[in-house]
């Protein structure tokens, strides 16, 4: 039996690659997001049922969507880190988790604010909102576990195991919450089950989705660079990298 650890993806390579891409992704995110939001806020027509309050959708739906995708991405990173022993993947988890939790928070908050004019209450035990709240708790668990360890490496591995357990649980949680909601006849936000959206609303929404996707990408890349630096601070390549930066 022999074990080996191959430096499959070299940290310095990834660090530089991310550094090269980060400005472009950031600019792209800012441009697309600004376009989508201005379009959605000012140019899209008002909803015939909800009036202008529906414009919250342009933040709510993309963040809700990507909050889930980010959790799955985190679990996939953890899985890759475990199976192929890639430390890069372990670190990616630490980069994704804070972004995911912020997206989840935003979707929850906007959902609640939207609920007030629609249902007349800030919080309704609606299936989607409840699932989102549980997802928020799952994120909190992963982040809390990561920060509980003084050694980041161990923390990332432990949090990765939890993220994998969580991702197996998500469908079960979703199903149970849906069932529970049908049992108790709660309110549902009907906007999701309406006939297909008019293009004049759909296109700005899709633009916002792309904008938020790019934003999530940029934020994760920024954090990933930080994470690589933190783990590799005493390596010679960091010295070259940072000192070059100072001279430039």
């Amino acid at each position: 039996m022999w074990r080996w650890l191959h430096p499959y993806a070299k940290p310095e390579v990834v660090y530089r690659l991310l550094g090269r891409w980060l400005p472009w992704v950031s600019i792209g995110a800012a441009a697309v997001l600004a376009t989508g939001l201005v379009w959605g806020l000012a140019f899209a027509p008002a909803d015939y049922q909800q009036g202008d309050s529906y414009r919250i959708i342009f933040v709510h739906v993309p963040t809700a969507m990507f909050s889930m995708s980010l959790y799955i991405a985190m679990a996939v990173a953890a899985f890759v880190g475990r199976v192929w022993q890639l430390k890069m993947a372990d670190w990616a988890l630490a980069a994704i988790a804070p972004i995911g939790i912020v997206f989840t928070f935003i979707s929850l908050f906007t959902g609640a604010v939207w609920g007030k004019p629609m249902w007349g209450t800030w919080w309704e035990w609606d299936a989607r909102l409840t699932s989102q709240l549980i997802l928020f708790f799952l994120y909190i668990g992963v982040l809390a576990l990561y920060h509980a360890f003084s050694d980041n490496r161990t923390g990332a591995k432990a949090a990765g195991i939890l993220a994998m357990v969580g991702v197996i649980n998500i469908p079960i949680i979703r199903y149970s919450v849906d069932w529970w909601n049908s049992l108790h006849q709660g309110a549902t936000l009907t906007v999701f089950e309406r006939p297909p959206m008019a293009n004049s609303m759909l296109i700005p929404l899709l633009t916002c989705m792309l904008g938020f996707a790019l934003l999530a990408g940029a934020l994760v890349m920024q954090r990933m660079r930080n994470e690589i630096l933190r783990q590799e601070l005493r390596r010679p390549w960091v010295k070259m990298e940072l000192q070059q930066g100072e001279q430039a």
Binding site: W2, R3, L5, E232, L233, R234
Partner: protein, 211 residues
């Protein structure tokens, strides 16, 4: 005498600091490897990474390279003892020994005899929690008397033992190596037992070792 362990280009870090790098050595049957180094040099980390408790930064470890059947199941032929004794304080010395042996797959041991051998006569049915640290360690050390492991990896085996205990342990080491076993150990003490098959490995530790 065949090789029991071949290690090449081993490297390890803790908290971003290099403990050792490019560590290469091997060990044959009948040999003893004494790993030396100051506190924090990474002796324990080295031993723990050999058996897979700590993840390696780089390097290859091959157990029993010349005996494929042993290599397949190297864990069964390797015995590791860390700083902690692995003795349950609620259970008596006797119960501890019996359960330990069962876990190793040895069922025909005379636990009473073993405990007498390691100097715990008359303490057999006291809860281990009432015994001293050295006595608890002796309970754990009974493993050496019945284990069939070829390679012993012992982290500070002499800790908490009195001179009689240390003497006894060294006799056991001599017996093990004479029977074709091999030992890797860390200790701040010099061995009083003389053997020409003693190898020494010094880990400098800290940043000196790296790059």
């Amino acid at each position: 005498m065949s090789t029991v362990l071949a290690v090449s280009h081993l490297a390890s870090q803790r908290a971003g600091r290099t403990l050792f790098a490019e560590l290469t050595f091997d060990l044959a049957q009948g040999e003893v490897l004494h790993i030396e180094g100051v506190n924090g040099a990474g002796k324990s980390t080295l031993l723990r990474s050999l058996v897979g408790l700590v993840q390696l930064q780089a390097g290859h470890i091959t157990f029993f390279p010349e005996q494929p059947d042993l290599q397949q199941n190297w864990r069964a032929h390797t015995l590791f003892m860390g700083h902690k004794a692995g003795v349950k304080s609620e259970l008596t010395a006797l119960e501890n020994v019996a359960l330990q042996a069962q876990l190793c797959g040895v069922d025909n041991i005379d636990a009473w005899q073993l405990l007498e051998t390691v100097g715990l006569l008359g303490l057999e049915d006291l809860p281990a929690g009432q015994l001293s640290a050295g006595q608890q360690r002796r309970i754990a050390l009974t493993k050496l008397w019945y284990s069939n492991a070829l390679l012993w990896i012992l982290d500070e085996p002499f800790t908490a033992l009195d001179t009689f205990g240390i003497e006894l342990l060294q006799q056991k080491f001599a017996e093990h190596t004479a029977n074709g076993g091999a030992i890797i150990l860390t200790s701040h003490q010099q061995l009083t037992w003389q053997t020409e098959r003693l190898k020494r490995l010094r880990i400098a530790g800290g940043d000196d070792a790296g790059y």
